[in-house]
């Protein structure tokens, strides 16, 4: 096999373990990811007993060659973007571990678990208050947004 860069090696390891032992309700599209290690599609199911029970979501992960030192770009894609106070209608997610609080010890799996718990702890389905303004003015890359983090407990 051709020599892999450190970021590819790590992504390959993560992909293997995520396919082997996926967290509940999370599935990675392994074929697509192994063809292009820098672009993953992850399917996520709303946790039973929460406001999102029975819903299906799709997350997209984009990685640079500086991963894991550089955080992945994570957005919801597809036609079911969860209605949540930290999720904009264009799929951008306001979650501090995706920018300021990123650490190279985090992984696709831990990001998925954080998003699952963010959705699961939601008490009222609604868009962020600045949704329409943000969606009109934001950069395509959510990492370019200077997020002002909301209360994590919501």
């Amino acid at each position: 096999m051709a020599a892999m860069s450190p970021s590819e090696r790590r992504l390959q390891k993560e992909l293997m373990s995520l396919m082997k032992e996926p967290p509940p309700g999370v599935t990675v599209d392994g074929d697509q990811a192994s063809q292009n290690l820098t672009l993953w599609t992850v399917h996520m199911e709303g946790v039973p007993g929460t406001l999102y029970e029975g819903e299906k979501f799709v997350l997209q992960f984009k990685f640079t060659n500086k991963y894991p030192f550089d955080s992945p770009e994570v957005t919801f894609i597809g036609n079911n973007i969860p209605i949540h106070p930290h999720v904009y209608s264009n799929g951008h997610i306001c979650l501090s571990i995706l920018t300021d609080d990123w650490s190279p010890a985090l992984s696709v799996q831990s990001v998925c678990l954080s998003i699952v718990s963010m959705l699961s702890s939601c008490k009222e389905k609604k868009r962020p208050p600045d949704n329409s303004f943000y969606v009109k003015t934001c950069n395509k890359n959510p990492k370019k947004t200077k997020w002002w983090y909301h209360d994590d407990s919501v």
Binding site: P6, R9, R10, K13, P68, F69, S103, P104, A105
Partner: protein
């Protein structure tokens, strides 16, 4: 291959399986928390987290203003990690010494690369006597007398005494030079 291992797994008692899990767990304990490979040039932080030094170094360089442990967010720095030497490691070289040089702005330890070949004195007073900056040279060397730069050898050592001696000679040479300039 897959069939055999499956057959083995279903044939073996749950106890046997657990042993395999344990082995895997042991291996993971020695994995770097950043690259997820077995840690090479391993270092451990004060908070007990294991990394390859090259991996941790790159992380510290990524956010120099906010150096935290990737795992637990405890404060972490180059000087607060402990290199680990396994049995197979014969050289026992501190991994922190062989990582790519840190970026400019970082002072290196003093070495005997004197600006004046042939004199071989420490870094403390080099270049103060560049002819162009001559008057300042005298001033700085005088000024420096009671206040050695951090790179000078520690007070009390032989090297320190030697430096003091050499700098005194240089001061006198400089004064003579001034006098010569004035009266010549």
């Amino acid at each position: 291959m897959a069939e055999t291992s499956e057959a083995r797994a279903s044939a073996s008692a749950p106890g046997g399986d657990a042993g395999g899990e344990d082995d895997k767990h042991d291996e993971r304990m020695l994995e770097c928390n950043i690259c997820l490979d077995t840690a090479r040039d391993a270092v451990v932080s004060m908070c007990g987290h294991l990394f390859c030094w090259p991996c941790l170094h790159q992380w510290l360089e990524t956010r120099p203003s906010r150096q935290v442990c990737p795992v637990c967010k405890a404060a972490i720095s180059r000087d607060k990690v402990i290199p680990l030497y396994g049995r197979g490691n014969t050289k026992q070289e501190d991994p922190r010494n062989k990582v790519p040089p840190r970026p400019a702005g970082q002072r290196t330890e003093p070495e005997n690369t004197s600006g004046f070949p042939g004199f071989g004195f420490g870094e403390g007073f080099h270049m103060s006597f560049g002819i162009g900056a001559f008057p300042f040279g005298v001033f700085t060397s005088t000024f420096n007398f009671g206040d050695p730069r951090p790179s000078a050898a520690p007070r009390g050592t032989a090297q320190y005494d030697e430096e003091q001696f050499l700098s005194k000679i240089f001061l006198w040479v400089a004064i003579l030079f001034v006098l010569w300039l004035i009266f010549a």
